[in-house]
Amino acid sequence: MNAASVKNLSIAIVCIVLAALIPFVFNGYWLSIALTAMMYIALSTSWALFSGPTHYISLASGAFFGIGGYLVATGMSDYNLSFWLMMAIAAVVATVLAALIGMATLRLSGVYFVIFTLGLAEMIRNLVSWVQNNFLGSRGLYVLTDFTEAHIYWMLLTVSVIVFALGWVISQSRLGFAMRIIGNDETVARHVGINTAKAKVLLFMTTGFFAAIVGAIIAPRYSYIEPNLVFSPELSFLVVIMALLGGMHRLWGPLLGVIPFTLIWEAISIWLPNFTTLFLGLTFLIIVYFLPNGVVGLLEKLRARVAT
């Protein structure tokens, strides 16, 4: 291991320890914001594992997240199954679904892929709602556990650390190199011998897996779950905006988008509750006009300017 990677690893460990200590320092309101931020860190970072190198913008996060939350709620509320078992089942279901979506959408690119994933997520939401309303009687489900906010926070932190570790491993692997080539030119990728379909589907399955795990972990926080709450299209958009705001060409990019965005979002929700959508749009404009490579891109540009 060289000096640079020792330094990076040390920084990572310090950050993880600091993040792990947050529940001891803050509680109540600030812990709840930290929890939300940690949820989006896990979601945006895992989303960017696929969308960062390929530039395929997926709006299906809400569907995978919803599967996590909804299956945990159904299993615990209707069948008395354990939280952990349902989390595992949800992860498997979401991963299989991601594989199917991935294979179905391989030939789609650009805006077609975006619309397809959004439409699919909406379809799943409506389908689950319909089944719930017509066949399963009750409309909502209760998720009652002994987890405190701190527990949920630590679980999400663990997931985030795993996402980062996996992201690093992928970036050092043939798969990571393949994804960079695919992002540059898919035709060239195929002609140098990369199974582009396999690489893309694998990464897409990874994002589905993690979104479902996060949805499952978050379920106990809500206590009461109904399909429209967990299969939220807003969540899909927030994940995308935060990752773009932070910058997707670095593994830690989305992190720098999630933290400021969550704080501002919270502040607006309190003071100007009707303006959150406006803020979402404004952020998007800022990204398009001023931060094409996100906060990370801006930092790198400033650093380059200082260096010269």
Binding site: R174, R180, N184, T187, V188, T196
Partner: protein, 243 residues
Amino acid sequence: MNTARTLLETINLTKSFGGLVAVNGLNFSVKEREVVGIIGPNGSGKTTVLNLISGALRPTVGSIQLAGQQISNKSAHHIARNGVARTFQLVRVLPGLSVTDNVMAGAVFGRKRLWKNHALNHAESLLQRVGLEDKRSLPVSSLTYIDQKRVELARALAGDPQILLLDEWLAGLNPSELQTGIALIQSLSEEGRTIVLVEHVMDAIRSLCHRCIVMNSGQLLASGTPDAVLSDSAVITAYLGED
């Protein structure tokens, strides 16, 4: 030449796009260590033939065999791993990657499947081979046209292909670059590489190709040595029209 084994063979190769038959019942073969040129007027189906061989397109009818194995039913990445590498008519470098990484792409995923330092060393030696050793750290987008073509060639060579497909690799070069380019391909041929090239530059065809096939409207019009086919009256008519 005749004793060498046949490396590539197309049998009744046909490709139609809707009503347009771009390649029509083409039979030809390429022997090991041979340089074969595909020439013909614009729109005669030359690039389509390369696209069929490399797997970018699937034939409508007919088949392609590489070293006795059918490849025409396989996808492009399988064909690349089996040892077919290509360059593109409109040069396709990977703009977000360094020059070295561009070439490593071929080394990592091609027939060789090298990784880490092996791939890096291989890429560096190929950069030297094509004359880019002092430009390896530049961004690809800052390279001149011929240098981008060199990157593409090095990437294709990095996979150690059994057969190299060059789609108008010499087009768009100025006269002195053209001489450099021809010499480079000549040296690959002397190394024993099997090459199929689509080309409009007749000087290059004459000096590089052992054999030529001439296409017109998707069909094989003539084949033989460059001198023979270029003086063939049917070929001249196809290029210049009847008077």
